[in-house]
Structure formats: structure tokens, C-alpha cells
Point group: C2
Chain length 413, copies 2
């Protein structure tokens, strides 16, 4: 499973739309914006695309658009006739779609593919459906098991209609605080780092630098989280053009391509809540880094799935970038900020940049590709050569239902 | 795209549950039944499965279970930790999931995978949601385009809450009748053939042999269809264990395996309604048969996606098994029945066997694998060596949104 892959795969073009509340936009318009930009970035035409993978998680429950969402959203762009696959894995859908495209390339089934993630989540007139779509990322036929988990971790069932996921992450965060002596300030430092980075990201939903004090003083959501530590609800899209070496040559896109060195998907396991050595994020990271033949010291820049700032803390540990319980001290010294040892979430992360579920994984790859190309402007990580993304979603048992870790590498043709 | 694949892929085990109204069952129980049977058929254990693909189209809209359906349904079976991918393509979801697993095998990413299709569609207390889930297989933001198409083909917008798809197929059927002189009797002969075959299929939803006269005398749905020419709403599941040559050896399952010779997915194209040479089903068939290096004369047994009997007629033409307009005469002579030249839908097809959307494509492969193993009992096609399945779904433009054609071959280790 984790042997180094034999055939090179590249990202030839990437894109993301601005994330945020976009009342004038639809899945179709967001798709058009992201696909057009990714094609342009790769120097590719519609006719170059041999197959497409489409990542979306909300259209059935929020709009009643079911099952062939990709074909419907891509058709107005002239992307007709080719294979289109609709892929879901909750918040990890985008990178799961990428993985299917990688298999297609490595199988020799084609040379140039398109991966698109799109989400229209902001429906102010449909709060019940929005909440139901979040709840649907857990086992809705065994909701008691989810609530039992929250209660066993010292929490309470949410009553205010907020996403259940905030409570699930909060339960894990409190356990981490109790066990390792980490503090709400540690989480606030991570969130402040991301909000501050996002001020330099024109596509970010929020672009206001924050201090840890400001994060702690923000509206409480569920202890230990304040609003600034939680990803907002967002509209947005992101896309990538994926190629074999032959496809890259055909497009003439070698100059700015990045190489995919590893990509591993795993699902929720069976473990004790405190067995963090087998955390889904650690298992995914281990597999992806084995594929890439890299260790933590090789990683230059990281995007992790901070649906809450606790998830960022946990994933920094999972990647081996900090010993358990030391993230707070390390973030305080700037180790994970721009200019630090291993910058994490230079894009602003989910808490600031936004989190349109089906697009999030591909937006992480947009950021990392931009970094590896030295095109990130004021948020550029210097001499970035190896970049890692972690994208996780849903909840099952005691952890995310699905997590993907992807390793990208700067590449010079 | 259609070069012969380089690495062999096999179905080592297959299963399908009985299809029908199963009020005591859920997606979880149907999944358990199909997966357990497929593992047993392959002589495989849960621990042999390295990755899984899950095909379902109804849980979000009918039950509120969103996006990580596969992980949730597979977990009680001990299938935890491994990669799980949720795949949709309307009625073609099951074989689209298979195609993703084939790419994974050919990419060298693993050796033994599981593909599962499951649908729980019968909710007598939720007729509005059931109808909405069908409608969601077309562009729900451009419903006028769908209705315009029906009207342009001489039909009317349905008013009785039936699936819009019956009207879409009926519009095409009427055009075919007008152009080629085929008749409602031709469709009735196809439906009667399938209902009669289904009498020998213990897993079929309906198992009552019918004559063409009985089919024509059944309840009218929309001209030229009667109820017996239309697939019912069904609960059910089907599964397959897919292997590389190495995986097959590891399982010791070579004795009853069948080889996948071709598998092609295409999407709705842009064509004139009467340009049947570019029909999506013909494009998929051409690609899959090119991969398999076979022609129509090589095909011994076929399962096609007869959501209505017109779809069967069209796909028999698409596969090159009959010249346009000649299917009726050919079915009248028994060419497509058991014992005929090229038996089509020996399982009973969708009109009799049932059509639990996400499971249908894999159920076709269950039937064909059973045929290639000489294990079909009273419905056995003699000396079947090459088998072809066509699985199509959704509607976009003037045809299905997605179609997969798969070619299987008897294989002796």
C-alpha cells in the first residue's frame, strides 16, 4: 500500500475562487470560475481534459441536486462526453477525488485529468437543512453513539443548532488539555497565527489579523473554542489539472508543475480515545510520507485541516512536527508561523480562509502549489521544496471518518 | 483511452441480495448481507480487503445520511481503517465505483478491493422525497430544459408524481417508433422475455413469467410504456471483490474468477436527438469493446440497463447486436432470449429483477459472473465466454448523464 509509486503524477494547474458568502453564485458559477482558472493556469484547453472527478457534499440535501452533480456543473463549460466521477468523503472529498485521478493516471488510463471541488453552503433561508447536512457527516441512525461519545468526554449535547462537529472537536480538545497540560491559549495562538496569515491571502473569507488575546475574547462557541478557532460556513470552489509526465509534456506545462510524491487515504479506525499513536491523521501521514520517502524534517510547508484549532494542534503532532503537548510552546516561539521552522497554514487555514467542504482539500493544494512555485507573494515560505496537506472529514467512532494526506514536491523539468 | 489495459483485473467474488421491498432492512443490513456473501464467494476474509468503494445515491435525500455513507455502513463488518471512497453516478454508480477500483489495481496501489452498491429506496411514508431523489438525477435548476425536451419529443410534463425518467425514456421510445417503425409490441416482447427469465431468478423482485400480451395489457404508465416495461422501485445491494493477479493468487480464488477485459465510462455528449451513432451507450460500448478487443459477434451474454424496455432496445442496437429498427423482429424469433443467438438480460433485467439504483450495476456483474462460471442453473447461457454489461443513469441534454459498459471474460487459471 505504501510502496513508492512507479509513475510520476503532477499538478499542472491549480485554482481556487475567493471563499466566503457568495449569494450571487451557484455550484455552476463557482465551478466555472475554478475550472476556467485551473485550465488557464495549466495552459490547457477544455479539449485537453480526458476525464474529471467532482467533489461536492451539499447539493443533494441543500438543493435537491443529486448524484450527477459533476456532469451538470461541467456541461456549460463544454466538458461533455468524457468520464465524470462524483466523489464524496465529507470534508476530505476534494483530496479523495484527487486520489481517484492519481490512480487513473498511474493505471495508464489517461494523461490529463481535472479534479474539481465545489460547495455552496450558505443558505440563510434554510438553516435546518444546513444543520442536517452537517449532522449527516456522522451516523445519523446512531446519533446516541455520537452524543454518548461527547458526554463520555465530558461534554453536553449541543442545543443551539450549531454543527455537531464543534462539540466533537471540543471533546477531543478538552481531553488533550487535561492530559498534556495544553491550554486554550495554545489554541488561540494557532488561530491567531492563521488569521494573521490570512490577511495576506486575497482569496480568504476573513482577512483580519488577530492576536491570541483577541481570539480568546471572541464569542464562545463551546469550551475551549471561541468563534475565531472554528471554520466558518463558506461558498467556494477549487480545482486542479493532474497529469502524467506525458500529459505535462503535451500541455507544455512543465515549467510550473509540482510533483505528487504521496497521497494516502484512510478511514476511521478502532482505537481507544487516548491512543493517539493510531490517530487517523497519524496513520494517513505515515502512509503518505512513506510513499514520498520523507520524514518530518523534510517538510517545508504544511496545510492542515483546522476545522477547529484543536484539529491543527493534533495534526501538527500527527505529522511528527512536535511532540505531544509541545505545540503550544512551539507556536509561541513562532515555529509554525511564516518565517518559522515549519510554517503551517500560511493560507490562513480553514478558520480564516473558509471551509467550503468539497473544495477545501483542493484549496490546500492550491496554496501549497503556489508556495512551491514561489508565487505566494507576502505569505511566501522561503525555499519550500516539500509540502504536505492534511484533509479530514466526517466523524465515526472516536475520530474523523476519512483523512487524506498528500505530499507535493517542487519540480524542475 | 481505449488501449488494451496492461494489467489483468479479476472479479474473485460477487454477490447480490434479493431485490424488492424490504421493509425490515436498512442500508447497513443490506450492505452486511452483500459484503458477507461476496467475501464468502471469493474465499476472502475482512482482513484481506485493502480498500473499498461504496455506491449509493439515495441516503442523503431520503434519510439525511450524507457523504461518508460507506464508512458508516462498512464499519459494523470490521471494515475499518482502510481507504473507503463514496462514488456516485446516478444509476451507473455501481459500475463507476468498480472502475475506480480497477484504476486502483492497475495503478499498483493494492491487490484486493471491495466494491459495494446499496440502495434503500422504498419509503412508503416519504413519497415526496422519493420523487425528489429521482428528479435530482436531472438538472433541477433547469427543469424547464428537461420538460422542453419532453415536449419537443411530443410528450407532456408528468403530473402524477411518477419518476420523470419514465417520460424521458418514453419520449425517446416514441421517436424510435416513428422513425424505424418499431412498435409497442417490440417493447412488450423485450419485457416479456425478461419477466419470463426472472421466473428462474430467486433474487428477482418479480418472478412471474409474462407474455407480450400480458405486458401490453398491464397498467399504462406513459405511452408506449406499461408498468411491466418499467423498472420498479427497489431495495437491495450487490458487491464484488476485485483483484490483481497477485491478489487472486493470495486469496486462492483463481478457480472461479472472471477477468475484466474492458470497462469504459462516458458522460452525456452534445448531439442531435436523432444522431444515434453518437448515443452515449454506443460510445461507451465502442470504448469498452476496443479495450477488450472484441466485436459484437464475440459477445455471448449481455445485461443491459432496461430502466424501461426502450432502453434495452436502444442498447441492443448500441452494442451492434441488431441493426436499428430490427430488434423487434429479432426478439420475436428468440434471438435475445435464453437459448437464442445472444441472450440479453437472463437475470430478468431491471424491469423484473428490480432496480436499487446504487446496486444495479454490480448486480449486472453478479449475473454475468454467475453465467461465466456456469452456475446460473435454469437460466444458464450455454458456453458463455464473453459477457457485456451496460449500466446508465441520470439524464442530461438528450441522453443519460453517465454510462458504463463492462466486458467480462471467462477465465481459467
Amino acid at each position: 500500500m505504501s510502496a513508492p509509486p512507479t509513475q510520476d503524477v503532477f499538478l499542472a494547474g491549480v485554482s481556487m475562487t475567493a471563499f466566503g458568502k457568495r449569494p450571487g453564485d451557484s455550484v455552476k458559477t463557482l465551478t466555472a470560475e475554478a475550472v476556467t482558472a485551473a485550465l488557464s493556469d495549466a495552459g490547457a484547453a477544455v479539449a485537453d481534459i480526458e476525464a474529471a472527478w467532482f467533489s461536492n457534499t451539499r447539493q443533494p440535501m441543500l438543493e435537491g441536486q443529486n448524484t450527477v452533480r459533476g456532469q451538470i456543473a461541467l456541461r456549460p463549460l463544454g466538458l461533455t462526453g468524457i468520464p465524470v466521477v462524483n466523489v464524496e468523503n465529507a470534508c476530505a472529498s476534494g483530496s479523495t477525488a484527487l486520489l481517484q485521478a492519481i490512480h487513473w493516471l498511474r493505471a495508464g488510463a489517461g494523461d490529463v485529468g481535472l479534479v474539481v471541488g465545489v460547495e455552496k453552503m450558505v443558505f440563510p433561508d434554510r438553516p435546518d437543512r444546513v444543520a442536517a447536512a452537517f449532522a449527516g457527516g456522522t451516523d445519523i441512525h446512531d446519533r446516541e453513539a455520537v452524543l454518548d461519545y461527547i458526554r463520555a468526554m465530558g461534554g453536553e449535547a449541543p442545543t443551539d443548532g450549531r454543527s455537531l462537529f464543534m462539540d466533537l472537536y471540543a471533546a477531543q480538545a478538552r481531553a488533550h488539555l487535561a492530559r498534556f497540560g495544553s491550554t486554550p491559549l495554545d489554541l488561540a495562538l494557532l488561530a491567531a497565527k492563521n488569521h494573521t496569515a490570512a490577511a495576506h491571502n486575497p482569496r480568504s473569507q476573513y482577512r483580519t489579523a488577530m492576536t491570541a488575546s483577541q481570539v480568546l475574547a471572541d464569542k464562545p462557541i463551546v469550551f475551549p473554542f471561541t468563534r475565531a478557532m472554528c471554520a466558518p460556513v463558506s461558498d467556494g470552489a477549487a480545482a486542479a489539472i493532474v497529469c502524467s509526465a506525458r500529459g505535462l509534456k503535451r500541455l507544455g506545462a512543465a515549467g510550473r508543475a509540482v510533483r505528487v510524491r504521496g497521497c494516502a487515504l484512510v478511514s476511521a479506525g478502532v482505537r481507544a480515545p487516548d491512543d493517539l499513536a493510531n490517530h487517523i491523521g497519524r496513520r494517513a501521514a505515515t502512509q503518505a510520507c512513506e510513499q514520498a520517502e520523507i520524514g518530518p524534517a523534510d517538510i517545508d510547508v504544511v496545510e492542515v485541516h483546522d476545522a477547529t484549532s484543536y484539529a491543527e494542534l493534533q495534526q501538527i503532532e500527527n505529522l511528527g512536527l512536535a511532540e505531544p503537548g509541545t505545540v503550544g510552546a512551539r507556536v509561541a516561539t513562532g515555529d509554525f508561523a511564516l518565517g518559522g521552522r515549519t510554517p503551517v497554514n500560511p493560507s490562513g487555514g480553514l478558520v480564516a480562509k473558509g471551509h467550503p467542504v468539497g473544495a477545501t482539500g483542493l484549496a490546500q493544494l492550491f496554496e501549497l502549489t503556489t508556495q512551491l512555485r514561489d508565487e505566494a507573494g507576502p505569505r511566501q515560505v522561503e525555499q519550500a521544496r516539500i509540502a504536505v496537506a492534511e484533509n479530514g472529514g466526517g466523524f465515526l467512532g472516536v475520530e474523523e471518518a476519512a483523512t487524506v494526506v498528500t505530499v507535493l514536491e517542487r519540480w524542475a523539468a
